[in-house]
Amino acid sequence: MARPNDELSDDELSSDEHAPGALGYVLVWLALIVLATLTLFASRAVTGGWGLVVALAIAGAKALLVLAFFMHLAGGRPVHRLTFAAAMAFLVLLILGILADVGTRSIASSYVDDMGGRP
């Protein structure tokens, strides 16, 4: 929960959020470009299940950079972080809930297995 409004500091109310400054932005951008390129190579080098993990990990890192610096979550109000984190939590929940089903049963076409035993 956010703090009650009356505790909002002047700092938080000022429209100038803690922004990284021009150089900061460029550095973040560089990092993003490097990470993107890294994904490209990683997708060649790491295959199989780990490929997805690596790809998602790098994408997650990039997303954090964008969120933290371009979107000012780092210096912004905690309630912004909370809001977006909650959304992400539910997004993951939706995916997990569905995977918990699909991963433990057969999906459409693989059903031939179930048909076993017919004379």
Partner: protein, 565 residues
């Protein structure tokens, strides 16, 4: 019919103030007109950004939706008087229950309490002059109207027959015109998101100076929790119905088994929204009850924090139980077990609320007005409906019950017995504040009793029908179900009569009701510290929240004119 307008028991004996004069309770300094009369003319209403006026426009809209959906229900029940074919073709019947479900859920129930009473009361309960984004608020009304118009157009233009659940693959191949109705639901969802967004921002940012989270009325907590669900879950519904509409129109085939797709995934997406959506429908109702109980028992909530946090608990855990609609749909047993168990947890929060209200009565000083009768009906019907929810959440019991009238009875118990009852309670409770008039108490009590009786006669037989094995969405049914169906239909007519009666006396008292004082119930609630009806900017003097909305153990704050001597 002669209508006697009875002044409310605890109403102040002071004579009603002369018509255009500043309403009772206003400081002499206030020459501000009340919000109803401030700017006359249709145009000023249609372009208003005043949350109170928008709330009234929503009230009109959802009442029309209720009447429309109720008309469909009456047609359904009339058909079901006969086991065999009668009155209409099967397809007409199928369209009828679909539209009944869609209209009732998306056009009535979801906006009913938040967009009407939330809109009206939330800023007042926070001591704010308006919502954070008044224009988004107005836009959300027009988006609602657009969505409703689309749905209605789709209805005239063939009407969908898929049930309100739009299950693929039937919805993608149905001979009826599914797309406009699905798209209408999408647009209605956008409106719901806009409302929720506004409430969240308002609650965070516009609490009056000194009003801390833990001083807010419980209703605000409930609306806040509802808004979280609206904002998070609704987009997923929007996506799911869009996919169905796309598939119906263009054969996208994302759920088509012929292409390797899995229709059960649609059901997952649908219920990821629609289970939390049932809490969109019930949480605000619980909020209303949490206001009514302390007001009429003149007692502090037994456990403020339990009520406040259980709303959040329901909102969050409510997201984890959607699979309980799919126990026999072909999900894995593992998934069924997990969702079944989590469904049991969500019930605890509801139970906490019920017990807290009951214990609030303890050692109170209770007056038995119409809202209180609705509260009593609510406790009984919601607890029963909720417990039957637990029953169907018990995995093995849901196997025979799924998609039978038992489920129909379960959700009507909660949605009518719970939400509609609370809606009616709310309208009686806040009627004086909204319109500056009193409703006739005696008529209120009588019709509340009739609603309760008619309701039970309608839906108790449906539990038995479900036990006996009558599936829902059945145009014709085996004769052995006949008697119970007739009972249910008769009950429905009684219920409809009671509701029409309610509407009638409320409409009459809009014009001829006794003038309402600022605080006819002697409530400590914040919204009652302003005149009835409130001025455009809600308060004559800024709200002072130091004396809380439930502080019945302390003398009343000064602003409230003394009530009943």
């Amino acid at each position: 019919m002669t209508l006697t307008v009875v002044p409310p028991e605890p109403a102040s004996p002071e004579p009603p103030p002369p018509a255009p004069a500043p309403p009772l309770g206003a400081e002499p300094a206030a020459v501000e007109l009340d919000y109803l009369r401030a700017e006359p003319g249709i145009r000023s209403w249609l372009t208003t950004t005043d949350h109170k006026r928008i709330a009234l426009m929503f009230l009109v809209a959802v009442t029309l939706a209720l009447i429309l959906g109720g008309t469909f229900a009456m047609i359904l029940r009339t058909k079901l008087l006969t086991p065999g074919p009668a009155l209409m073709s099967p397809m007409t019947y199928n369209r009828m229950f679909t539209l009944h479900g869609v209209v009732m859920v998306f056009m009535f129930m979801i906006p009913a309490i938040p967009a009407v009473f939330g809109n009206f009361c939330l800023p007042m309960m926070l001591g704010a002059k308006d919502l954070a984004f008044p224009r988004i608020n107005l836009a959300s009304f027009y988006v609602y109207c657009t969505g409703a118009a689309l749905t209605l157009w789709g209805m005239v233009h063939g009407g969908a027959d898929t049930g309100w659940t739009f299950y693929a693959p039937y919805s993608t191949v149905s001979p009826t015109d599914v797309a406009p109705v699905a798209f209408g639901v999408f647009v209605l969802g956008v409106s719901s998101i806009m409302t929720g967004l506004n409430f969240i921002a308002t609650t965070h940012m516009l609490r009056t100076r000194g009003l801390r989270w833990h001083d807010m009325p419980i209703f605000v907590w409930a609306i806040y929790a509802t808004s979280v669900i609206q904002v998070i879950a609704t987009p997923v519904l929007g996506l799911a119905v869009t996919l169905v509409a796309l598939d119906h129109a263009l054969h996208m085939g994302i759920f088509d088994p012929a292409l390797g797709g899995d229709p059960v995934l649609f059901e997952h997406l649908f219920w990821f929204y629609s289970h939390p959506a049932v809490y969109i429908m019930i949480l605000p109702a619980m909020g209303v009850i949490s206001e009514i109980v302390p007001t009429f028992s003149k007692k502090h909530q037994s456990s403020y924090r339990a009520l406040a946090y259980s709303s959040l608990g329901i909102a969050f855990i409510g997201f984890l139980t959607w699979g309980h609609h799919l126990f026999v749909a072909g999900i894995s047993q593992f998934d069924a077990g997990v969702f079944g168990l989590l469904s049991m947890f969500v019930a605890i929060f509801s139970a906490i609320k019920v017990f807290t209200w009951i214990s609030t009565l303890y050692r109170g000083s209770i007056t038995f007005n119409t809202p209180m009768l609705y509260f009593f009906a609510f406790v009984y019907l919601f607890a029963f409906g909720g417990m039957t929810g637990i029953a169907v959440a018990t995995t093995s019991l849901d196997v025979p019950w799924h998609d039978t009238y038992f489920v129909v009875a379960h959700f009507h118990f909660i949605m009518i017995g719970g939400t509609l009852t609370a809606f009616l309670g709310a309208i009686h409770y806040w009627f004086p504040k909204m319109f500056g008039r009193m409703y006739p108490e005696r008529w209120g009590l009588v019709s509340a009793f009739l609603v309760f009786a008619g309701f039970n006669l309608t839906f108790v037989p449906q539990f038995l029908l479900g036990n006996a094995g009558m599936p829902r969405r059945y145009y014709s049914y085996p004769v052995r179900f006949h008697i119970l169906n007739v009972a249910s239909s008769l009950g429905a007519y009684l219920l409809a009569t009671a509701l029409i009666l309610t509407l009638a006396y409320l409409l009459i008292s809009l014009r001829w009701g006794a003038r309402a004082p600022a605080n006819p119930w002697g409530s400590r609630g914040f919204e009652w510290r302003s005149p009835s009806p409130p001025p455009v900017h809600n308060f004559v003097t800024p709200l002072d929240p130091t004396r809380g909305p439930y502080a019945y153990d302390e003398p009343p704050p000064d602003e409230v004119p003394p009530v009943s001597t």
